[in-house]
Amino acid sequence: MINILFFAQIRELLGESSIQVEAIAEITTAEELRANLASKNEQWGKVLASDKLLVAVNQTISRWDMQVEDGDEVAFFPPVTGG
């Protein structure tokens, strides 16, 4: 399983804070995982298509070609605004 987390407005727009998906051969990178989730429905497709979307793999901000595998924690969120 891949544990997926959503934060801030991404979490609100999707209506989910976390989901789990089966690790499958078609998902080898963060970009492929995003594409897989985006195919769920129109709303998910729109939200996850944002060019501002960031991804963290195992709690480190990553590039979209980062490898994703079984047991990983992958988080999607907007640019950060703390401080």
Partner: protein, 155 residues
């Protein structure tokens, strides 16, 4: 000689600047103590603000803040470094973030303090949700913050 001390806290409760100051200011080797406090202000681009909610990514946040301190220590000779960041809902005037840095000389403490807040604003997974006249509004990341962080890039 005692090891340099770093402290990172992410918490809902408020902090005491006096207590945090006392904790970092007790070393006779330091000639400089620089502190910064970020607060909830009553306006933003969307108009009047009534309260602010901070969300974060538990686990990753603490790791990123610790890493930012490691980077600051690589650039300047620092003794004590404290970062406290609050999460949850805060009222106008409430304290959001505390940064404290001590060093032998003021320049390192000033520079490191500014570096820490600039980096925190662009690297640490916190998100601000404002409530105000126009309802609730997630704040957009500001290009100015990104530029401020880039200013510290080593050419």
């Amino acid at each position: 000689m005692p090891a340099n001390v770093s402290k990172v806290l992410v918490q809902t409760q408020d902090f005491s600047v006096a207590d945090e100051y006392a904790l970092i200011a007790d070393d006779y080797r330091d000639g400089a103590v620089v502190t910064f406090v970020g607060k909830v202000r009553d306006f933003n681009y969307g108009g009047m603000v009534t309260d602010l909610t901070l969300e974060h990514y538990p686990g990753m946040t603490e790791e990123v803040l610790s890493q930012i301190i490691v980077e600051a220590r690589e650039r300047w000779s620092l003794n004590k470094v404290t970062i406290i960041h609050r999460v949850g809902t805060m009222a106008l005037g409430d304290q959001i973030v505390f940064i404290g840095v001590t060093s032998a000389h003021r320049k390192a403490a000033f520079s490191a303090g500014e570096f820490l807040i600039d980096f925190l604003k662009t690297k640490a997974p916190f998100w601000k949700l404002e409530s105000g006249e126009a309802g609730k509004n997630w704040l957009d990341a500001k290009d100015a913050d990104e530029q401020a962080a880039k200013m510290w890039d080593i050419p």
